[in-house]
């Protein structure tokens, strides 16, 4: 059996001939899975070819994880035929690499020990082990950290190591269930570059689920999954075209007002959907000319500043959102039942008083300095974003700011309180949602909500109303008595958010509240966050979705424990050196590989179906760029200078600082 595996991976052509003729590495026909009475998967069919990257996208609780469990042979299907490499998944598992959201590593072993353990388990011969170890560690940029403990790696590095572990036995199939959840944008890009190389160069077949739709654009084909069924399968381009809509990018300074006007209009007329993306609105219209005219007219009617409108193809995210809205599964936006009338008086008379303030904040763990001289100032009614790569020290900073971790040195004031950050009075005014695990998995949803509303002293007569609001906002009516541990990750996040705001806090700490949450629910999250800010709550939030971060009033970028840039989103974008060029070619990955050979690799990044390239001197570099792509026979559809997005700015800032000082991961 083992011998066969090794031989077959060395000479892929020599595999089972019946399989080669079918050409499908994975075949799923009529798959059903029931848990007790609940049907998680209700008739799924798809096939994946060798060397293909197949994406499964869908809202939380669509049945993606269950499908992965069955493909990985961890769970039995109720009915249906599942074949991986022509065998039942359980028999094929030696040829399957499986990676989940949870880090499947031994945190008290080093990188090398983890790899050696996995390869021992999979009986990889020694010589091949050292070869592969070297190859994959280099591919993931981990080659210099061999003896570092896995527990001391940042989230992004951990996931790359987990991928290494999955690859060490050279599986022919990789199953990746939301591998990049909670991983920062820079590491996520590196991760996907590795996946692309594996699929195209080594013929590894990859099935991947992701809540990031810009990542999903990099798949060869996508299955849009909803309610236990695959609604649509196709290439990203096919899915976008099937929508039959056109996208108008509307850039305006009055985003909020414009969104309101256009959303009201979208119920009639040619506007199908309106979505805020950072500093622009995406308006989906049936006809580009009529739509643009209508938008301009609406702007005039409501005395909004004239906007710049660009016509573009719809994105996958547009497809996702529109399809789900058609299914009627968009989460409801219900007004929060306020009982205190907000915190407006605080906003007025204490403008000089910060809700959250720190000066020269430091924290050392042994000889390692996790946080260096951090200054944070957040006013009531303000949304402040603390952004940074995994391990930059964001969570440590938050823990100090809310009094969970004593600072090594520096001043902190929280809600006007300086000395005792742990008083019961103060904590009643604070809401806190940590990265994970804020709910009791062994209690029901209702019990959790009753507990948190009770402990924050929400008066008994108001509790019912607030709990009902949380349950309705999460779309969990009738399922209140479900054990929380059984909820999909994204759904748990929503309930946890509800639990942390029921007492209408003056100050709200949100540590990656939207990680692993599907795009529709994320939008709902930010509506709520904005609503709380308007009512006077000071909000400190971290996120790895930079487009969301555009909704912050101010933000700081942290690199290796230090704040390197701060300001409003537009200030930060404006302060970026150089010029950003958007390149659209017929082969994004190939173009990226080509350009990365000639420029520093951080200057080239893949954004969905296009490339963003940072150049220092546009006049000189743009013609250069074009001629290089032409020389490699890549068709360039478009090549134009565009303004920096926050994500571009983030990548630039992080990479420039990281190259100035070697990046230290933070022990957690």
């Amino acid at each position: 059996m083992i011998q066969k595996t090794v031989a077959s991976s060395a000479i892929p052509e020599a595999r089972d001939p019946s399989l080669a003729s079918l050409d499908d590495v994975i075949r799923v026909v009529g798959l059903h899975k029931h848990y007790d009475r609940v049907a998680a998967v209700r008739g799924v069919d798809f096939a994946v070819k060798r060397g293909e990257v197949f994406g499964l996208i869908g809202p939380d609780g669509a049945g993606k994880t269950t499908t992965f469990h069955i493909l990985g042979g961890v769970m039995e299907a109720t009915t249906g035929d599942v074949k991986v490499l022509g065998q039942p998944p359980r028999d094929a598992r030696l040829m399957i690499g499986y990676l989940t959201q949870q880090f499947s590593l031994y945190l008290d072993l080093s990188i090398d020990e983890n790899l050696r353990y996995v390869s021992g388990l999979r009986q990889v011969p020694d010589r091949q082990f050292s070869e592969r170890r070297e190859k994959y560690l280099r591919l993931m940029n981990l080659e210099n950290f061999g003896d570092r403990l896995a527990g001391e790696l940042s989230g992004g590095m951990k996931q790359k190591l987990a991928l290494c572990c999955a690859l060490i036995s050279q599986p022919q199939v990789l199953l990746l269930d939301e591998p990049t959840t909670g991983v920062d944008p820079v590491s996520r890009r590196e991760f996907w570059d590795v996946l692309a190389a594996l699929a195209s160069e080594e013929g590894v077949t990859i099935v991947v689920a992701t809540p990031y739709l810009d990542e999903a654009e990099r798949c060869n084909r996508i299955g849009l999954m909803y309610d236990g069924q695959i609604q649509q399968i196709g290439t990203p381009a096919e899915l976008r075209n099937s929508l039959g809509l056109y996208r108008l990018e509307v850039h305006t300074l009055q985003l909020q007002a414009a969104e309101q006007v256009l959303t009201e209009a979208s119920e009639s007329g040619s506007i199908a959907d309106v979505q805020t993306f950072g500093d622009r609105l995406d308006v989906l219209v049936n006809d580009p000319q009529i739509g643009e005219a209508e938008v301009r007219e609406l702007f005039q009617q409501h005395h909004l500043q004239a906007a710049t409108i660009d016509l573009a193809e719809p994105t996958l995210e547009n497809v996702f959102v529109t399809r789900l809205r058609q299914q009627g599964s968009a989460p409801q936006s219900l007004a929060f039942p306020r009982s205190r009338g907000g915190n407006r008086d605080v906003t007025k008379n204490s403008s000089s008083d910060f809700a959250i303030y720190s000066h020269n904040l430091n924290r050392n763990f042994g000889s390692f300095q996790a946080v260096k001289n951090v200054n944070v100032e957040v006013r009531y009614g303000e949304i402040f974003g603390l952004l940074g790569a995994n391990g930059a020290g964001k969570t440590t900073t938050i823990k100090m700011l809310c009094g969970l971790l004593p600072e090594s040195s520096g001043d902190i004031s929280l809600g006007g309180e300086r000395g005792n950050l742990r008083s019961s009075e103060l904590r009643r005014r604070i809401g806190y949602m940590s990265q994970k695990f804020t709910l009791y998995d062994d209690l029901t949803i209702l019990q959790n909500l009753e507990f948190y509303s009770g402990i924050y002293g929400v008066p008994r007569r108001l509790r019912r109303e607030k709990i009902d609001w949380v349950i309705a906002t999460c779309g969990l009516e009738g399922r209140e008595t479900l054990i929380t541990g059984q909820l999909p990750g994204g759904w748990k996040q929503r309930v946890a958010f509800g639990a942390s705001v029921m007492h209408e806090p003056d100050i709200l700490f949100l540590d990656e509240p939207t990680s692993g949450v599907d795009p529709l629910a994320r939008r709902q999250f930010w509506k709520l966050i904005n609503d709380f800010a308007r009512n006077g709550t000071a909000i400190l939030v971290t996120t790895h979705y930079l487009e969301e971060a555009e909704q912050c009033n101010r933000m700081s970028f942290m690199v290796a424990g230090e704040i390197v840039t701060e300001g409003s989103p537009s200030q930060i974008k404006a302060s970026q050196p150089g010029q950003l060029i958007e390149v659209i070619t017929d082969q994004t990955q190939a173009a990226s590989n080509l350009l990365k050979q000639q420029m520093e690799s951080w200057r080239v990044s893949i954004f969905a179906d296009r490339l963003h390239v940072v150049v220092d001197d546009p006049d000189r570099d743009i013609p250069n760029l074009r001629s290089r792509l032409d020389a490699a026979n890549l068709t360039v559809h478009s090549l134009r200078p565009i303004p920096f997005s926050l994500e571009d700015a983030f990548i630039g800032v992080v990479q420039r600082s990281a190259h100035a000082t070697p990046k230290e991961p933070q022990p957690s």
Partner: protein, 373 residues
């Protein structure tokens, strides 16, 4: 009604309801509180018996007279010794003892009967296999005692020394399980309360909800107390179960006041929970907590007198055992059950237990607040 309403509105109540919810969901915990204590009581009570019976006796009777046979039957009469074999000579007997085939050997010389008749003192040789020192000691004691009685019966006038008339109080049948069972009751209570309370705190730490809990307005003492109360009730149930087993299966008498006993047990539950919480706050994970608890609980049990009497320990350990809360509880349990002692006698132990409970709970509350940093 007003205080009741205040209680129901309080954070403490909310925390308690949550704890109860978690306990009810945790079938394993309830099983662990019922099944192992019962089994432990039964095993310890039935198997841990210091009495020695049916020792294998090898007899070489060169005399072979009615008198010598009478001696042998005196030895075997109360079941301590049992004649296993009768080898032809003492060399073979010695060999059998060496190989462990018999535990005790008796050699009666050919002159035995003659010596007794001629008013000489007769000698018999007893060989004892002392690999198991405890058994050997008991066997040799029995043998000496029986042979003494035998010789006194023969010549009552010659050695009319002091005759002891011991009256055995409280345990007239000298039933050893009466001694063991109340001790094991303390042992079971100690393990139950410390392990269960460690688990409830460490689980919050493992899953990360502890951080969230510390961010709520709940004070450390509220969190701790809310964890204590449901466990306290559960563990009192465990005490009742154990007492039921003790009285029904082992017929241990219950001479003291039941409520006083439950009060003392409650006090000890607080001590046990305090130990558990302290362990949980200094451990980083479930695994670490369990290993540390072995390190703490085993010496506590060994030095408590629950199984081996404190009087048989070296002096240093006897003094050390005064700092062992379990020792005091075991003493209370024995006196109260067997003697029916009341608070007038047991107040030093009661004071000690109260002091332990307050100290442990106070330290763990303090530790609880600072444990994340």
């Amino acid at each position: 009604m007003k205080p009741l309403r205040r209680l129901i509105e309080s954070r403490f109540w909310v925390l308690t309801v949550k704890e109860i919810g978690q306990i009810l969901r945790n079938k394993q915990l309830i099983f662990l509180l019922v099944f192992p204590p019962t089994v432990q009581l039964l095993i310890f009570g039935l198997a841990l018996n210091p009495d020695v019976q049916n020792l294998k006796l090898g007899v070489v009777d060169y005399s072979n007279t009615p008198m010598s046979r009478e001696l042998v039957s005196a030895l075997t009469a109360n079941g301590v010794f049992q004649v296993d074999r009768a080898p032809p000579n003492e060399q073979i007997l010695g060999e059998q003892v060496r190989r462990g085939e018999v535990t005790t050997g008796l050699v009666i010389p050919p002159t035995f009967n003659r010596d007794l008749k001629s008013d000489h003192s007769a000698e018999v040789q007893v060989l004892i296999d002392a690999v198991d020192a405890n058994t050997a000691g008991i066997a040799s004691g029995y043998a000496a005692q029986i042979i003494n009685q035998f010789s006194q019966k023969l010549a009552p006038q010659s050695s009319a020394a002091i005759e002891t008339q011991a009256t055995i109080l409280y345990n007239p049948g000298l039933v050893s399980s009466w001694f063991i069972v109340p001790g094991v009751l303390g042992l079971v209570l100690n393990l139950g309360s410390s392990l269960v309370s460690t688990a409830t705190v460490v689980r919050e730490k493992d899953t990360g909800t502890l951080e969230q809990l510390l961010m709520t307005p709940a004070a450390a003492w509220e969190i701790i107390l809310a964890k204590v109360v449901p466990l306290f009730v559960l563990l009192l149930g465990e005490v009742m179960l154990a007492v039921t087993v003790a009285t029904l299966v082992f017929h241990v008498p219950f001479r003291g006041n039941f409520f006083l006993f439950m009060g003392f047990s409650g006090l000890y539950i607080c001590v046990g929970i305090g130990i558990g919480f302290l362990l949980a706050t200094i451990s980083r994970s479930q695994q670490q907590a369990i290993l540390t608890s072995f390190f703490i609980n085993l010496p506590l049990i060994q030095l408590s007198g629950a199984i081996a009497p404190i009087e048989s320990m070296p002096r240093f350990f006897q003094i050390l055992s005064l700092f062992n809360p379990l020792r005091h509880y075991v003493k209370i349990a024995r006196s109260l059950l067997l003697k029916g002692s009341g608070l007038d006698v047991l107040y030093p132990e009661a004071l000690a237990l109260t002091a332990f409970a307050i100290a442990l709970l106070a330290i763990s509350t303090y530790k609880f607040r600072t444990q994340l940093s």
